[in-house]
C-alpha cells in the first residue's frame, strides 16, 4: 500500500518537474525577413526553433532607452551598455535582428514567419517602463486589434514608427494605425516627452440602473 503511495507521489513530482521544464520556454512566431527585422524578445539566434538556421542571423542589437543608444548583443555583447538595464526589462523590448535569409514560406498565413523561443515572460504593456526619448516597444497579443491611440496609457507620444520589412525603411505611424495579427511579436519605436507607461484604456462601467420607484 505504502509502496503505491510513494510511487504515486514520485510520479506526480516527475510530471510536475517535466511541465516546469517545458513551460520555461515559450515558443512564438514572427515574420523574419532577409535584412533588418524588429523582433520582440529576440536576443540570440539560439532562440530560433523553426526553419531558419542560426547561422542566418548575423547581428542583434538592443536599444538602451536610458542612454538612447544601441548596444550589440550578438555576435558580441556590449556589457557596459547592456548592464545598464535589467535582463527582464530588456527582453521585453524589440531588438534589431539582421538575417541573411528568410523562409520564403507562409506560416499560419504570415509570410516569412518563423518560430523562436522567448526567454522571458511577456510583461503587460502597462508594466513596461517607457523612458523619455525613443523606446523600442514589442507588439504583444494585448495590443493586436488596437490603435496606437488606444495603448498610449499616460504617455505623450511625439512620434511613432514601424519598420517596413519589404523596403527596409521606417514608416510613420498615425494615432489610428492599427496593430494587426501580422505585426505580432515585431516592434515599433515610440518617442515620448517624459518617462511614462503605455497601457490599454479601460472601459468605464457605469453602475447598474436604479430600482424603479
Amino acid at each position: 500500500m505504502s509502496k503505491k503511495i510513494i510511487i504515486s507521489i514520485m510520479m506526480i513530482i516527475l510530471i510536475g518537474l517535466g511541465g516546469f521544464v517545458t513551460a520555461s520556454l515559450l515558443e512564438v512566431q514572427a515574420p523574419i525577413y532577409k535584412g533588418w527585422n524588429l523582433l520582440f524578445g529576440f536576443a540570440n539566434p539560439n532562440q530560433l526553433s523553426g526553419k531558419l538556421e542560426e547561422s542566418s542571423i548575423k547581428a542583434v542589437y538592443a536599444f538602451i532607452p536610458t542612454i538612447q543608444e544601441y548596444a550589440m548583443v550578438y555576435p558580441d555583447v556590449d556589457h557596459d551598455k547592456v548592464g545598464l538595464i535589467d535582463d527582464d526589462e530588456l527582453l521585453n523590448t524589440a531588438f534589431w535582428v539582421y538575417s541573411s535569409d528568410e523562409t520564403g514560406e507562409e506560416l499560419n498565413g504570415i509570410m516569412n514567419a518563423d518560430e523562436y523561443n522567448l526567454e522571458e515572460e511577456i510583461t503587460l504593456i502597462g508594466d513596461r517602463n517607457i523612458y523619455k526619448g525613443w523606446n523600442f516597444v514589442g507588439i504583444t497579443p494585448e495590443m493586436v486589434g488596437k490603435h496606437l491611440n488606444e495603448i498610449k496609457g499616460n504617455c505623450e507620444i511625439e512620434k511613432a514608427f514601424g519598420w517596413e520589412y519589404d523596403h527596409q525603411k521606417w514608416q510613420l505611424l498615425e494615432d489610428y494605425s492599427k496593430f494587426n495579427k501580422e505585426s505580432l511579436l515585431t516592434g515599433i519605436v515610440v518617442k515620448v516627452v517624459s518617462n511614462c507607461n503605455l497601457g490599454t484604456l479601460e472601459e468605464e462601467i457605469s453602475p447598474p440602473p436604479e430600482i424603479p420607484n
Binding site: I7, L14, A59, M72
Partner: protein
C-alpha cells in the same frame, strides 16, 4: 522497493539538471569585444562584416 526509489530519485535529479540547462540565459554570456555599436545608416551585410542597425527615424 529501495531500488525503485533510487531510480526515481536519479530521474528527478536528472530532470533538475536538464531543467537548469534549458532555463533562460541572459544575453550577456558572450565574450566581451569592443565593437562600436553606435547607430549608423542602414547597411547590408557584406562578407564577414557585422552589419550595423538602421539609424533612428529622422527628427
Amino acid at each position: 522497493m529501495k531500488k525503485l526509489i533510487t531510480i526515481i530519485f536519479i530521474l528527478i535529479v536528472g530532470l533538475m539538471v536538464f531543467g537548469g540547462c534549458t532555463t533562460s540565459q541572459p544575453p550577456d554570456n558572450q565574450p566581451d569585444d569592443p565593437i562600436n555599436p553606435e547607430p549608423q545608416e542602414n547597411n547590408q551585410a557584406g562578407g564577414d562584416e557585422i552589419p550595423t542597425p538602421p539609424a533612428l527615424p529622422e527628427e
